[in-house]
């Protein structure tokens, strides 16, 4: 059995430095959310936030709504369809019973999500019973098979595009582990068979079917009754699919959300352990800064998108340069020229692979040995059988001996020395917290490390805390202890703000929802008497009574020269700027006759940036004046 379902999602990225942080958009994803809408989805509840019970149906719908809002910003080229089954009404191209494809106007059934789609889907639940309705689709005595129909409709939706350029997925949400349980005998076996065949046909077309089962609090979803065959997992893999029973709602939601994202291999590399022994690894970007989506420039008059054309012009002759130019570096009063090939050859100091150099104790890896986010590596036996076994053996040894591997990663454009740090799997009730594998940490070279501390060294000994002061600090630390702190528990407030603004503008909402800055310190907690006392004691032991004196802002003459100068320039600018009638100059188009220095008076006086060419300065002044 193929344990590596990721091959189709492979992309050969990570080569260019500037693309390091970005994901490529060329592999699109087509997803059909297939949601069981049977009465059982409405009648089963889980205790949710505020002790209120929430139905399985609600959990699923809100997870999907949430993921659509993320997706429209992060991966807006992906296309989605939402399809309910076990419904009273039907709406689908095949005209199959019990299947309802949800959509809004001006949108194909499988299409990129739009603002309207998200907005209406968000409110869909209220009118669901009236418009779509819930009804068991598989009952004894009728030959209807709503699950079969649903798969058929989903496959139909995924007809578009080739499997080469798009990843096609069906995500099936249900809490019914035995869909044909109510049937008997030949009818049951027949329906089971045809449904499994339908699923297999879809899989043969390159569509992956993933099950997202919901368990009832008292009874675990038994995947081996039916669905194991449908999604094609067996044996040990079952444990991966299965959520444990009795999970809290938050965990369940969390897990569903996690699994809505596909895993993408960034690169496949070979790890050379010694000459003649190299194993196969896949690398994954598990941690990368998320940035607001790319800017599209528009013409402010027509709102039409613009494209940027870059042209290279010879500074000496003004001629347009067609061929990619050579590069040069001034050196010893000469211009030394390099061709692009030469430059890339200089960078190629190794052969693109990861090469083991040796091992060191973990204490050699300092906190400042870091430059970029790490990359996760996981073994694969897809091409080289035996890789995983070697990897596991090394990983266990490294964990046990508390050592990390030093290796050279010969990435053609950015070769670097790396540390491979072993990570054991960490699992909690909510699922896998840390996957087992190694993290590749990019090490700095000596050229990248600065010895700042030495700049602050003194010929004499510097002040040092006494044991008593350290004790007071320990007491303080114990008071302000974040026991359950986990990395990445905060949402990025500026990003959330950005999304909220965008969403509000796109959905034409009147108000921009306030976002909660989770990164702000816990003021209430800090104000508790125990904490306040500990801080006061520490303060007293360190500063004595000189705290106010040392922290006083003004008056100690320490304002730096630069800031004094800056202040003087600003004051002068305000004075000078007052000598001109700017409105008049602007109206008569006389700004262009002024000198750059004069223009900067206005800008400095109004606290505007003074960078750029003269035209930029003028346009900035005009914008500021509202002309």
């Amino acid at each position: 059995m193929d344990l590596d379902p990721d091959d189709v999602f492979r992309d050969d990225e990570d080569d260019l430095e500037n693309e390091f942080f970005q994901e490529r958009e060329s592999t699109k994803e087509f997803v059909v959310y297939l949601i069981d809408a049977s009465p059982k989805m409405f009648s089963t509840t889980c205790p949710g936030e505020d002790q209120r019970d929430e139905t399985h149906f609600h959990i699923v719908v809100s997870c999907i709504a949430q993921s659509l809002k993320t997706q429209i910003i992060n991966r807006s080229y992906d296309e989605v369809a939402i399809c309910f089954f076990n419904t009273r009404e039907k709406k689908n191209l095949q005209d199959s019973n019990g299947v309802f494809v949800y959509n809004v106007a001006e949108r194909e059934d499988l299409d990129r999500p739009t603002a309207r789609f998200i907005k209406e889907f968000d409110q869909m639940e209220e009118s669901f019973q009236k418009v779509i309705g819930s009804q068991y689709g598989i009952v004894s005595g009728s030959r209807e098979n709503s699950l079969y129909n649903a798969l058929w409709v989903a496959q139909g939706l995924l007809r578009k595009g080739s499997a080469k350029t798009a990843d096609k997925r069906i995500l099936l949400f249900t809490n019914e582990d035995d869909p044909f349980g109510s049937l008997n005998g030949a009818v049951k076996s027949d329906m089971t068979k045809t449904t499994l065949q339908r699923a297999k046909d879809a899989q043969d077309l390159g569509i992956s079917i993933e099950l997202l089962p919901l368990s009832r609090p008292d009874e675990e979803f038994n995947i081996s009754l039916f669905y194991a065959d449908l999604i094609g997992v067996e044996g040990d893999d079952l444990a991966l699919v299965l959520p444990s029973a009795g999970q809290k709602l938050e965990d369940m939601k969390d897990q569903l959300r996690k699994r809505l994202f596909t895993k993408r291999i960034v690169r496949r590399i070979s790890f050379i352990i010694s000459n003649g022994l190299s194993i196969e690894l896949n690398t994954y970007a598990l941690i990368r800064p998320t940035v607001p989506g790319a800017i599209t420039w528009l013409d402010s008059v027509t709102n039409c998108p613009l494209k940027t054309e870059r042209s290279l012009i010879c500074a000496d002759t003004g001629a347009l340069m067609r061929e990619p130019p050579k590069r040069f570096q001034p050196y010893k009063n000469e211009n030394i020229k390099f061709s692009t090939q030469e430059l890339s050859e200089i960078k190629r100091v190794s052969n693109g692979h990861l090469r083991l150099l040796g091992f060191k104790p973990l204490s050699c890896l300092k906190d400042y040995h870091n430059l970029r986010p790490s990359t996760f590596v996981f073994p694969s036996d897809k091409e080289v059988i035996g890789s995983t076994r070697i990897f596991i053996a090394l990983l266990r040894s490294m964990l046990r001996l508390k050592r990390f591997a030093v290796a050279f990663y010969g990435n053609p454009t950015h070769p670097q020395l790396v540390a491979l740090v072993a990570q054991d799997e960490i699992v909690t009730a909510g699922g896998q917290i840390e996957p087992p594998g190694m993290h590749m940490i990019y090490l700095p070279y000596c050229d990248d490390i600065r010895n700042v501390e030495e700049h602050h060294s003194d010929a004499n000994a510097v002040p040092r805390a006494t044991d008593d002061q350290v004790k007071k600090a320990i007491a303080l630390m114990k008071r302000i202890d974040l026991k359950d702190f986990s990395v990445c528990q905060f949402a990025n407030p500026s990003l959330q703000r950005h999304y909220a603004v965008l969403q509000a503008l796109a959905l034409e909402e009147d108000e921009i929802p306030e976002i909660n800055d989770e990164t702000a310190p816990d003021e209430e907690g800090m104000a508790r008497p125990g904490v306040v006392n500990a801080i006061e004691e520490f303060k007293l032991s360190v500063y004595g009574d000189s705290y106010d004196e040392e922290n006083a802002h003004a008056g100690n003459g320490k304002v730096s020269e630069a800031s004094k100068k800056r202040k003087a320039v600003a004051e002068n600018a305000v004075k000078e700027s007052a000598n001109y009638d700017w409105a008049d100059l602007a109206d008569n188009g006389k700004l262009k006759d002024m000198t750059v220095a004069e223009l900067k008076y206005y800008l400095t006086a109004h606290n505007l940036p003074v960078t750029g060419k003269k035209e930029a300065l003028i346009s900035r002044i005009l914008t500021h004046m509202g002309k």
Binding site: I118, I287, G293, T296, L298, S300, V301, P305, E309, L312, I313, Q329, P330, E342, I346, K347, L356, L357, G358, K360, C364, D367, Y368, V384, G386, R389, I392, R396, A405, P415, L417, E425, P435, P444, Y445, D447, D448, R450, E453, S457, V462, R464, A465, I474, L476, M477, I480, L482, C488, Q489, N492, S494, L495, H498, L502, L505, A506, D517, A520, D522
Partner: protein, 610 residues
Amino acid sequence: MARNREGLLLLLDVGPSMHGVLPQVEKLCSMLVQKKLIYGKNDEVGIVLFGTEDSDAGTKEDQVGLIAMRMSALGMKMENIVVRGSLIGNANQIIMDENDLLLDLFSKKSSVKTVYVESPTALLGAIKTRNISPVTIFRGDLEISPNMKIKVWVYKKTSEEKFPTLKKYSDKAPPTDKFATHEVKVDYEYKSVEDTSRVVPPEQRIKGYRYGPHVVPISSAEWEAVKFKPEKSVKLLGFTDASNILRHYYMKDVNVLIAEPGKPGAMIAVSALARAMKEMNKVAILRCVWRQGQQSVVVGVLTPNVSEKDNIPDSFFFNVLPFAEDVREFQFPSFSNFPISWQPNEQQQEAADNLVKMLDLAPSGKGETLQPEFTPNPVLERFFHHLELKSKHPDAPVPPLDETLKKITEPDVELLAEKKSIVDAFRRQFELKENPKLKKSTRRLLREKPSGSDERHGDDNVSDALAVNSIESKPDTKVEKIGDLTPIQDFEAMMSRRDSPDWVGKAIENMKKKIFNLVENSNKGDDYSKAVELFVALRKGCILEQEPKQFNEFLRRICKFCQEKNLSSFCDLLESKELSLVTKSDAIDSDVTDDEARSFFVKRELKYED
């Protein structure tokens, strides 16, 4: 800016015991001077050579003391690089100890830094060849609470030294023009996507952000009004166990937080917190906005940097941690769920233990090799080397990677030789083989690219021949028919089978059937693109194997069939891809002329109109 100018004096010991490492010393010095030529043209450099053969160091303690005092009075700094270990053959231990004593005296009395290096590679990285004066990125309060603030300065501790950005060169100016700058200006024009003849001036542009298929325009003024605007501040959120922060969550280059100079209270506060954190194995979590007007906040972890030297203050390192949005929580299988055949057995585990233990880069008693602090960037070293060569001979080829630098990119040969038995034992324990189920053409992993320095035009020639050299057994895959999954690969595999002459014929027949089926059973042209792909492969294969007739007959048959069944859109597709008959110039056995091939589809159209 006179303040940043540096006067540098290199004192080189050229006594006999140093002769072994003089080539590296020379390299280090020339690197230093080369970088000065680029980054610090106004700096001044001098070199003094001295031999220690008969210097009588023991009686000079007083002199050293005096010199040290004078040096610190003049604000001079000194860096000593002491070469150690196996590099120096029969050095006199007593003299070495005496020298150490003197150097130690220096470092007590003035700003002197002494480093010991044990390998030529470390020697190349032992001093900063480029002097960057540190600039604070933040000066202000570290807020423990609203009632307690510690004055700190924040600097970069690591920052990547990038490959130099070379300017673009223009050779358009006539060679006689002595004042030519040879520079290239980059010009940007903004054109409407719909009407490319219309150029929009830069100030008429407005930023738009994608929201699904729509773009939402937002002017900078509008954005200014609604965007997130945090106040400049560095605030403590709390302390937590160091084990809560896994090392791989560090996101960026690293900062150092240091108490503001001249503030004894702040220095003690930092010192107390750092030492308390170290003792209790705790770290602090901070929320930082370094500059006023910055649009984002960072949350990060503060770890103690307790100084071992009396004259260097305690400080903290700061690493940025990810936000919830930055982490992709992919699930991976547990190793315990893998089949037994993937799990190492006891002997294998032992061999791995030995390898991890013995292939040691930091053996106790000896220095740590490849310490980042002493490891130069091989790419930059190579660039400056090439630059120097080119300044003498403009056509000088890219030099091979220096032997000393190869110790960074490749395992140390001596270490491997020393630990050969362990490495061999490890290799004996494990067996690797290529997955026989994979098609040859999909194998990409094991193709080794030649490392640039040796083979200059390797890039395009890397073919399957080079593919598998790290693997002993390579079972040939025997493809016998064309499957559904990878038809093209199957076809190619069959065509290249040499164990019987029949395979070519079989492959072509098989492929024809496959294409025919696709075209015939395609529902509204769904599978046409796939069929065309197969067509391309078939055509290529027929040319390669000199079977033009097979292809031409098939093409004619398909076209006829399409006309009869009203499936002409498939033929249109073939035409648009220029998949016409195989001509005589393609394959010598063909009886089709180029003209005939060109008019093949045209004729078809005429017939169609009839």
